[in-house]
């Protein structure tokens, strides 16, 4: 119990340290752009493909359940509310933890193990500002954008499945979408959720990587922790946010 509270305190202090190290400097911004490329732009394929398959499978299963009540036209409502409210932000964040969070933790862990972080300090460069802040900021920018890509692809794939494979009229699909998704209640809060998930994914991955034990084993433990803690945190926060927001 004591150890858990202490761990929570370490995360909080690390977050303050990151926020304190953000500078509007040219070099930090250049590093951030580079990180947006590595962790954001290069995650687009997995997020798009993941989103498309989630849309396909949700539509297929939802149609089977709805058509027994003669409510096949409500397919758009079911798909869009599920994807906007839960699956979009949550699955994007979990996929992101696996795709980029693990890489970030491994990179920082290896930097720690090979004393690169120590040498930055010795050259009077703040290691948090140099290596952690660009990754943190890049994640916070990337995750909401990736969520938009995920949702767009899953709805597009769901529409394709509904109209061309299941024979639901496309007009009904889009009309039920537009009448049931509220601009703020559903659409806006998907992005509120994903912004929160982005902050926590980034914080956990950078923290466990930055504070990894400087051994090969320490790096591998940090990588595992980034994915496990990150995913669990996303699921926990999702419950918390769903219970309070809606």
């Amino acid at each position: 119990m004591r150890e858990m509270i202490a761990a929570l305190g370490r995360f909080g202090l690390f977050l303050l340290r990151i926020l304190g190290a953000i500078r509007p400097s040219r070099s930090q911004w250049r590093d951030t752009v580079r990180q947006i490329y590595v962790i954001g732009a290069r995650s687009v394929p997995i997020i798009a493909v993941g989103g498309a398959f989630v849309g396909l499978v949700m539509t297929l299963q939802g149609y089977r359940a709805l058509v027994t009540f003669g409510a096949g036209n409500a397919l758009g409502t079911m798909l869009s509310l599920t994807v906007f409210r839960e699956l979009g932000p949550v699955l994007t964040a979990i996929l992101f933890c696996g795709r980029a969070g693990s890489a970030m933790a491994a990179e920082l862990g290896l930097m720690r193990a090979t004393d690169q972080i120590t040498s930055l300090s010795m050259m009077a460069i703040d290691p948090v500002g140099k290596v952690v802040v660009p990754r943190f900021v890049a994640t916070v920018i990337s995750v909401p954008l990736l969520t938009a890509v995920f949702i767009a692809f899953s709805i597009l794939a769901g529409w394709f499945q509904a109209e061309f494979l299941l024979g639901v009229d496309g007009g009904y699909f889009w009309a039920s979408l537009q009448s049931s998704v509220d601009l703020w209640e559903d659409y806006g809060q998907a992005f509120v959720k994903s912004a929160v998930f982005g902050v926590f994914c980034a914080l956990i991955a950078t923290h466990v990587g930055f504070h990894a034990r400087p051994t090969p084993e320490g790096t591998s433990v940090a990588t595992t922790q980034a994915v496990v803690y990150g995913s669990l945190m996303v699921l926990f926060l999702d419950f918390l946010l769903s219970a309070t927001l809606y």
């Binding site: 580079r34 947006i36 687009v44 767009a152 889009w174 998704v181």
Partner: protein, 163 residues
């Protein structure tokens, strides 16, 4: 440090994210109703609002012209329903009537307006006086059974009334 290729990819990624968000906002949410021009509010009191919910559609002749903004209980224990109507639907006569309908047997509730013939138009904040409450299916079935029981063919309803 950041090569032109990296910068190009980052720019494309950010554009793609914002494009997806924008297309989603227009294609799959109710943003069209929200930003679609000027609107005005009228209120209507119903003795029973049934399952009517906020954001349910308001229709004239089956065409959507607005939505329900709020439903509250007023001092006479009636349901006070605020309707938000689009200006683009034209001016409605002051003696327009409102009724709560159900689309299909189990479908969603909506408010149907039937325009009258008054030359005066309904303005912002005006009240619709001619209202017809929601039909509650259980009451309807109850009424039907009761009427059948009190009618001539009492044997069909199985009532205890002697002939």
């Amino acid at each position: 440090m950041a090569s032109p290729k990296t910068e190009w990819s980052v720019g494309a990624f950010i554009l793609m994210g914002f494009a997806c968000a924008l297309v989603l906002a227009f294609a799959s949410t109710n943003s069209g109703d929200r930003m679609g021009g000027a609107s005005y509010r009228v209120v209507a009191n119903f003795t029973n609002a049934g399952d009517l919910k906020a954001r349910a559609p308001v229709k004239i002749a089956g065409v959507k012209v607005g939505e329900i903004e709020s439903i509250v209980l007023d001092e006479n224990f009636d349901a006070r329903v605020t309707l938000r109507l689009a200006r683009s639907a034209g001016e409605l006569p002051a003696d327009t009537g409102a009724a709560i309908f159900t689309s299909g047997l189990l479908g969603e509730r909506y408010v149907g307006l039937s325009p009258g013939g008054d030359p005066e138009p309904l303005g912002d904040g005006d009240e619709i006086l001619l209202t017809q409450p929601a039909v509650v299916l259980e009451q309807l079935i109850g009424k039907f059974l009761f009427n059948a029981g009190s009618g001539d063919d009492a044997d069909a309803s199985g009532s205890s009334r002697s002939r």
